[in-house]
Symmetry: C2
Subunit: 306 residues, 2 copies
């Protein structure tokens, strides 16, 4: 089953368009967890790797029936070096086992031969005569290098039922520095040009759902731009960051959905992970329940607008 | 000492503008190494991680007096998962110990808060109350997200004497898909616009060498464009991939240098690493000598044009 079909099936079955961002940060984690792991593992980065994995498992357990996917952000794992990659791999495996789709947020990009290697790193391959698999279903990528840096990923999408989300219009305040520039020939913004690339790169990878394995990252913080991009990429799923902590609300992400109520997966990381800290100061033992409550509210809020 | 000053000092002392790309690939490694590690470590990815590290050490030993820096390409390590990150970290530590500058080729990019985390991952920071350092001197980044995704790295450059190379004009055939588009306002290409960003982002980070800690990635395969970019970024170092296997020659990289003979660091990976395979079929025991010979020739060829 193609990646887009998997996504659509999960969204319809769970009646949810929510993706939890798994961005664990030591300083924000529940105190009861950091105290426990700091005592057990004197090495700072090892304590963090163990704590991140346990924290993620708690979040996954508490939300797996309410969300369709998790999105671990690679930076938070790379900060812990090789132990962080272990925590990332274990987190992905646990989420997959709970029936969730896994989107690795690595924003990778390179020339063709290197992109081939990244495709194997995230989607599996063969090494030293031995096959290896990963629990990653999709990867975010950056299209600055053009088609030949994307092609190896497209190949993996077709052969292994994996997905791709290409950065189009990002959620951060400076995204316009480059992405809002207008081209002299097409008279469209760079973000819109990238949108056309995405639609064309994914044209051979549309599955029975009517959507393509090649999606776009479109920030929740620019609803006007999202509307234009929705028209440019009718067959692409949008992965929508910027909801919650970055300021995007349900009404803002409405233009990211198609009229079928599909076509967008909305990400919340900090708003869900650290919901427990919004209340009274505590050791955070209730972090999973707090996460579940916020996720449930977000799911309902999105269902109202899509 | 600022990163640019370190680079200039090393180039002048060694009379070399060469950087070795450390892109180990199992299928291309000397047979005597892969056979040895495959026998010792039954797990494919563990055998590869051990073999990559030993191979890299051999290359570093053979070339450390002829080159100023090494550039491990992250994809080749990430393909091995957490063991690959171990091999990457050990490789960087070994190169640093041999007096080489280390440029991690990760092309990272994200919103501000995540970019801060990447900056710590590659340049060191604090985790769970414990300081950690890395052996990385500089990182390649992608500027598609604009200034606020770059700022955390600039801060680290200033505080920790680290460097940055921003993708401007890449060496691959499709680089023009986006990078050659012309903006309606400035009437310059996206690559040139990014060049102006680089010059401005680095303006507060020019050290006693006259160069900034913020450099640019400019492919050897587009000499005409390199000439224009050199004029746009007089104070920026160019990291120049595409020499050798990708088709760039010494004459092609000439426009990347300033009139002081500085300002560019030229990368060769496959041409150096797999030089042994150019001769008769063999087990590759001579890989280090073959690498040294090619590196020496490249050093001289560049000294002729710069």
């Amino acid at each position: 089953m193609g990646f887009a079909q998997k996504l659509c099936t999960a969204i319809q079955k769970k009646q949810s368009a929510v993706c939890v961002g798994l961005d664990p940060q030591w300083a924000k984690l529940p105190l009861f967890l950091t105290q426990k792991f700091k005592k057990e593992y004197p090495s700072g980065r090892e304590a963090a790797a163990r704590a991140y994995l346990e924290f993620n498992k708690g979040i996954i357990d508490a939300t797996s029936d309410l969300v369709v996917a998790v999105k671990p952000q690679m930076a938070y794992y790379e900060e812990l070096g090789s132990l962080g990659w272990w925590a990332f791999e274990e987190t992905c495996a646990y989420a997959a086992q709970k029936g969730l789709l896994v989107i690795a947020d690595g924003k990778r990009n390179d020339i063709g031969s290197t992109a081939e290697t990244y495709a194997r790193a995230f989607f599996g391959g063969e090494m030293a005569g031995e096959q290896f698999e990963t629990s990653v279903d999709a990867l975010t990528v950056n299209g600055y290098l053009g088609l030949d840096g994307i092609q190896p990923f497209l190949k993996a999408c077709g052969e292994k039922d994996k997905g791709l989300f290409v950065l189009v219009k990002t959620s951060n305040p400076s995204s316009g520095d480059l992405q809002d520039r207008v081209t002299v020939d097409e008279k469209i913004s760079i973000a819109e040009l990238m949108g056309h690339f995405v639609e064309s790169w994914g044209s051979d990878l549309v599955d029975e759902s009517g959507y393509s394995s090649v999606g776009a990252v479109v920030g929740a913080t620019f609803p006007q731009e999202a509307k234009k991009l929705r028209a440019i990429m009718p067959n692409s799923f949008f992965l929508v960051p910027g909801y919650g902590a970055q300021g995007g609300a349900a009404e803002d992400v409405k233009p990211c959905f198609n009229s079928d109520g599909l076509g967008a997966l909305v990400v919340n990381a900090r708003g869900i992970l650290y919901a427990f800290a919004e209340g009274q100061p505590s050791l955070g033992e209730n972090y999973a329940e707090a996460a579940r409550q916020v996720t449930s509210q977000m799911k309902e809020a999105l269902n109202q607008v899509r």
